[in-house]
């Protein structure tokens, strides 16, 4: 804590560190606040407390080994990261993924989006004092994690997508589990709405707080619900469709108010849109068909083939010992993660390991809007504003 006297007005300002061990900073974010009484004059975000070196580590792994690292970036939406990285490498290789795998990817990433939004809603609400919403959200998220565990084997660090398709055939009965969730969830969204949307405390804490107009939002480069809450309807799924998103029907919810409440409404509407996409995907996924593309030397052959055919076995050995070498070149691939535009830039020098992997993390960019949100407002609003950006520090400090 430090105090400085303003020589002109004679008032004192105080510098206060919020975080990095503050429960409402959602990880280890430190915000340096200059305060006049309870009013925030200046806010500066200090990041780097969770630096993992994931981007650098990718350079020491083969292309497919690096998938496991991407899980750990945005750990609330591991499948979105897996998807984006795989799409980037597939672009580099010019690889086409079978439709069945594409639909399954869409379904699972939308489930991840719901799961991630539930964590956001729960933690945002508990930051502002609504305990029960938190518990209800995590209860529903548990159902999603169970589906992910059923399909991939892990609740969070899924590593389920592979370059060229999926790791495993989804187990029998998984669609029934998704169906159960999809049937149950709409009434649960209604419950969250009943608890919060008209709640007077919620309105007082979020309406008019953390204002960001469209111009500033675009200038700062924010994306995702943070941008759409300011009235800009940009969604990568609509503008640069990937993984067959152009075959799905869904709306991009936007609000024009640009405050925390608007972003809350946008995300709740997104939950419903994701459900819509999941329903369409369930109808689209063919019961049978390949889950990986045919690309000898790049995509591991089927296990059955590997055990019976000599050629397949040789490819299997080659892929797991050396990996594969894409042609030299660089690609950028963006997807709409729950937090906004997630991008992977992958550069290859023709060796089996990426020469450079750069992540355009939506949390990192969206965090730049925090000073805009809080300057001139009360300290209590800082908590609401950090919550509304929905940052994941694993992605900010990669």
């Amino acid at each position: 804590m430090a105090t400085t006297v303003n020589t002109i007005t004679g008032t004192q300002t105080m510098v206060l560190n919020m975080g990095p061990q503050h429960p409402s900073t959602h990880g280890v974010l430190r915000v340096v606040l200059e305060l006049d009484g309870e009013t925030v004059l200046k806010a500066r975000t200090e990041i780097g407390y969770l630096h993992t070196g994931i981007e650098k580590s990718c350079e020491a792994k083969t292309y497919s080994q690096a998938i496991t690292l991407t899980d750990r970036l945005d750990y609330l939406a591991p499948l979105s990261n897996n998807l984006c990285y795989c799409l980037a490498v597939e672009k580099l290789l010019g690889l086409e993924v079978p439709k069945r795998a594409q639909y399954i990817r869409v379904l699972l990433t939308e489930l991840t989006r719901i799961g991630s939004h539930l964590v956001w809603l729960g933690t945002h609400a508990i930051d502002l004092g609504a305990m029960s919403v938190f518990l209800y959200c995590f209860r529903e998220r548990e159902e999603i994690l169970k589906i992910l565990e059923m399909v991939s084997g892990q609740r969070m660090m899924t590593s389920y997508f592979r370059i060229g398709g999926l790791a495993l055939e989804p187990p029998p009965g998984w669609l029934a589990a998704v169906e159960r969730f999809v049937g149950m969830f709409p009434s649960r969204i209604q419950e969250y709405e009943d608890l919060l949307t008209k709640n007077r405390i919620w309105l007082a804490r979020t309406q008019g707080v953390g204002k960001l107009d469209a111009e500033d939002a675009i200038a700062l480069g924010v994306s995702g619900p943070t941008l759409r809450g300011s009235g800009v309807g940009y969604d990568v799924r609509k503008f640069f469709p990937y993984s067959s998103y152009d075959e799905f029907e869904f709306e991009v919810p936007t609000r024009t108010e640009g405050d925390c409440y608007a972003r809350y409404l946008v995300r709740l509407a997104e939950l419903r849109e994701s459900l819509r996409i999941i329903r369409q995907a369930m109808a689209k996924i063919p019961a049978e068909g390949p889950i990986r593309s045919e690309a000898p030397g790049i995509v591991p052959p089927d296990r059955e083939k590997m055990k019976t055919e000599m050629e397949a076995l040789i490819y299997h050995f080659k892929i797991f010992t050396e990996g594969f070498s894409p042609p030299p070149g660089e690609v950028y691939q963006a997807i709409e993660s729950p937090r906004g535009e997630l991008g992977f830039y992958v550069a290859s020098d023709g060796s089996p390991k990426p020469w450079r992997v750069k992540v355009r993390a939506p949390s990192f960019v969206n965090l730049q809007a925090l000073p805009k949100f809080v300057e001139g407002r009360l300290i209590a609003d800082v908590v609401a504003c950090i919550g509304t950006i929905d940052i994941v520090l694993g992605e900010v400090d990669r």
Binding site: K61, S64, Q65, A66, T68, L69, S132, Y136, R139, E142, K146, E149, M150, V151, S152, G153, Q154, M157, S159, A167, L168, P171, E191, D194, L195, K198, N199, R200, P300, M306, K307, L313, H316, F317, F320, T321
Partner: protein, 159 residues
């Protein structure tokens, strides 16, 4: 006046709605897992502590090919292979793994080793209770990972 009445009315409606949700949830079944008093419920595919398998004759399936070690992103599998002899046959193949260690202080349970193994020798079990006070105890040796032989008698699965 009318404004105040409207506001009071709305407040009461939202309060009633909110408490309605709370009340409904009080009547629902709890979803908490009572670990450790009750076992944890895993899905069949759960990736837990590895198991090294044997074939029907009780020979080890692992042929010491090093594929799992090469595929492992965390570099946590250590293998020393040795030749089988007719007098001492450990696996059906030419070689077997004399030493097979997995360092669980590094393993990330990604399943790449299972995917890589050409003989289905290694799979994930459902074990997960790894916590220990001694980090060296996290290096699991072949004896700890290997399926017991002869297999213990199990009650038939009734699912």
């Amino acid at each position: 006046m009318a404004f105040i009445l409207k506001e009071v009315g709305e407040t009461f409606i939202t309060l009633a709605k909110g408490f309605g949700v709370t009340f409904r949830n009080m009547l629902r079944k709890p979803v908490t897992e009572n670990y450790p008093d009750e076992p944890v419920h895993f899905q069949a595919r759960y990736r837990g502590i590895h198991v090294l398998h044997r074939d029907e004759q009780g020979l080890e399936k692992c042929v010491g090919c090093f594929l799992c070690a090469a595929a492992c992103p965390a570099n946590c599998i250590y293998i020393e292979a040795a030749e089988n002899t007719d007098a001492k046959r450990i696996s059906a193949g030419e070689r077997y793994a004399k030493v097979y260690n997995i360092d669980y202080s590094r393993c990330i349970f990604c399943g790449y080793c299972v995917e890589a193994c050409p003989t289905d020798a290694i799979t994930h079990g459902h074990g997960f209770e790894l916590a220990t006070y001694d980090i060296n105890a996290l290096i699991y040796r072949k004896e700890q990972l290997l399926e017991p032989w002869p297999p213990p008698k199990r009650a038939p699965l009734n699912s």
